[in-house]
């Protein structure tokens, strides 16, 4: 059987971001996938040398346009660890709430993109309709739709007053009902299942060995979630990782669907327990020291390695984003699949190429 090489990307209808794969195919079967990324390397890590560490929160937030808040939060947490800053509890709770709101909007964005990828346009629009409600809560409380800009070293910039909390909780009830409507379609519909079940199977051992993170790892049966480490308010709000054992595309979709409801619950608990008090402390001086901080993004574990030497610029700012860790697994499951399933498999890792390359 003759082999053909089909270029996939960097511009592809199902992916708004540039990743290029050379797919070696035999008939309709993919034999090998050779990746090339690096089209949008922005050099954000290098920027640490010209921006001071306080301003750098804004840069960290802009690593990714979807999980922006948690990037800012992780950066702040890392600096706070180095400088030994005690963040007021109310700020920690607010960070948790915003982090979970961003998880809901990220997962809804992904569900929509996936529905779009398989040609289920009406489901795509419904996912994004619900996402719009979440974005409205985010904009009303932080001022931005995707770049929240509300996290700073030592706390947060804005507070949410009791009245707003009440309206958010009311909105959440509506959102939860909507989520139930759309996830029912994702989890039960015949055409969705036909596109996802048994596609791109990754075993538990492979997922662990290839260093997978987040929903990709949990869909293969490994119960690991960085929120269990108890950063921010997660020390008071226990999080049980949501796992599946099948390891296929459907399992990844199901994990994300269930995480939506988990996040709604976390926000409810956080609002029930939120203490009164200050929302920020003043931070002075320059950081000295080194830390590795990990948090759970919607796409998985993100790792910040910061090294500071007592000047106002960081010596090293290094981010390992979740997609970077999930790419090897994607390359692993591509060989052997049908050409028509390639977009689905690429989408199920929830690729975020801009943050991969930073």
């Amino acid at each position: 059987m003759p082999r053909t090489v089909i270029p996939f990307g960097p511009q592809h209808p199902v992916l708004p971001e540039p990743i290029h794969l050379d797919l070696v195919v035999e008939d309709e079967k993919v034999i090998e996938a050779r990746p090339s990324i690096g089209f949008i390397h922005r050099g954000l890590e290098k920027l640490a040398e010209t921006k001071d560490y306080v301003e750098f929160v804004y840069v960290a937030e802009r690593i990714c346009g979807i999980c922006s808040f948690i990037h800012g939060q992780t950066y702040c947490q890392a600096i706070e660890t180095i400088m030994n800053v005690q963040v007021p509890p109310r700020a920690l709770y607010l960070r948790t709430v915003w982090g979970e709101l961003s998880r809901i909007h990220s997962h809804l964005l992904w569900l929509g993109l996936m529905a779009d990828g398989m040609g289920f346009e009406s489901l795509f629009m419904h996912s994004w309709r619900v996402r719009e409600k979440v974005l409205n809560i985010i904009e009303a409380t932080t001022g931005g739709r995707v770049i929240f800009g509300s996290c700073k070293i030592g706390g947060v910039r804005r507070d949410i007053n009791a009245e707003t909390i009440k309206t958010i909780l009311k909105d959440l009830d509506g959102i939860e009902q909507d989520l139930r409507d759309i996830t029912r379609v994702f989890l039960n519909d015949r055409s969705v299942k036909a596109r996802l079940c048994g596609i791109g199977v990754l075993s538990k051992q492979e997922a662990w060995d290839l260093g997978c993170v987040g929903p990709m790892l949990r869909a293969s049966g490994v119960a690991q979630d960085m929120r269990q480490q108890g950063y921010a308010a997660f020390k008071d709000i226990p999080v049980e990782p949501i796992t599946r054992t099948e390891g296929d595309s459907y399992a990844r979709c199901a994990v994300r669907c269930e995480e939506l409801f988990q996040s709604v619950q976390i926000i409810r608990q956080a609002f029930a327990k939120i203490p009164d008090g200050e929302i920020a402390v003043k931070v002075t001086g320059n950081p000295t020291g080194e830390t590795i901080t990990r948090t759970e993004q919607p796409r998985g574990e993100v790792v910040y390695h910061l090294k500071a030497n007592g000047t106002k610029n960081l010596q090293r700012f290094r981010v390992r984003t979740p997609t970077f860790a999930n790419l090897p697994a994607m390359l692993k499951v591509l060989p052997g699949c049908d050409l028509a399933d390639v977009p689905m498999i690429v989408l199920t890792i929830d690729p975020c190429i801009s943050c991969t390359e930073r």
């Binding site: 090339s36 990324i37 690096g38 089209f39 390397h41 050099g43 890590e45 290098k46 040398e49 010209t50 921006k51 001071d52 301003e55 660890t81 662990w208 060995d209 290839l210 260093g211 690991q224 960085m226 269990q228 480490q229 020291g289 080194e290 830390t291 590795i292 990990r294 574990e301 790792v303 390695h305 090294k307 000047t311 106002k312 610029n313 010596q315 090293r316 290094r318 390992r320 970077f324 860790a325 790419l327 090897p328 697994a329 692993k332 390359e357």
Partner: protein, 144 residues
């Protein structure tokens, strides 16, 4: 770095140490490099049961060579290609070598030497505002 454990190792023991980690069932969390004035510092982070352990390796700043761990951890190819493209560290024995084409950067090896780093940080505070402060003089027509 308080809670995370860092173990200092040398190049010769790297592969053995990493192999031992693999056998104990660790997941490779990340590899990162830091450019210091006279050396390149590499950090390998591993995770087992959500506990982070690190291996730290110092390499000379010029003619830096590093043995690849990609035969032990497949996923290390991305990290090692990245370290090559950004830090000018030659990695020997990569299972998939992009030959410097992993990232398309305007400056080759942006973290390749501390010279680049020092030159730009010396002009702080914030190069952006520094250049703006002189802007009205350079552009007097716009000032009404």
């Amino acid at each position: 770095m308080s809670q995370e454990q860092i173990e200092l190792i040398t190049v010769d023991t790297l592969l053995d140490k990493v192999r031992a980690k693999r056998e104990q069932g660790h997941r490779l969390v990340q590899m990162s490099a830091t450019r210091l004035p006279d050396q390149v510092e590499l950090t390998y982070s591993f995770d087992l049961n959500s506990r982070l352990t690190n291996l730290r390796l110092s390499l000379p700043a010029v003619e830096t060579r590093l043995p690849s761990i990609s035969s032990i951890y497949d996923c290390a190819i991305l990290y090692e290609n990245e370290i090559h493209d950004l830090f000018n560290v030659k990695v020997d024995g990569l299972t998939v070598d992009f030959h410097g084409n992993f990232y398309k950067t305007a400056i080759k090896f942006p973290f390749g030497s501390t010279k680049v780093a020092c030159a730009s940080s010396a002009t702080t505070p914030v190069s952006g505002t520094a250049s703006c402060a002189t802007a009205p003089a350079a552009n007097p027509g716009a000032t009404k």
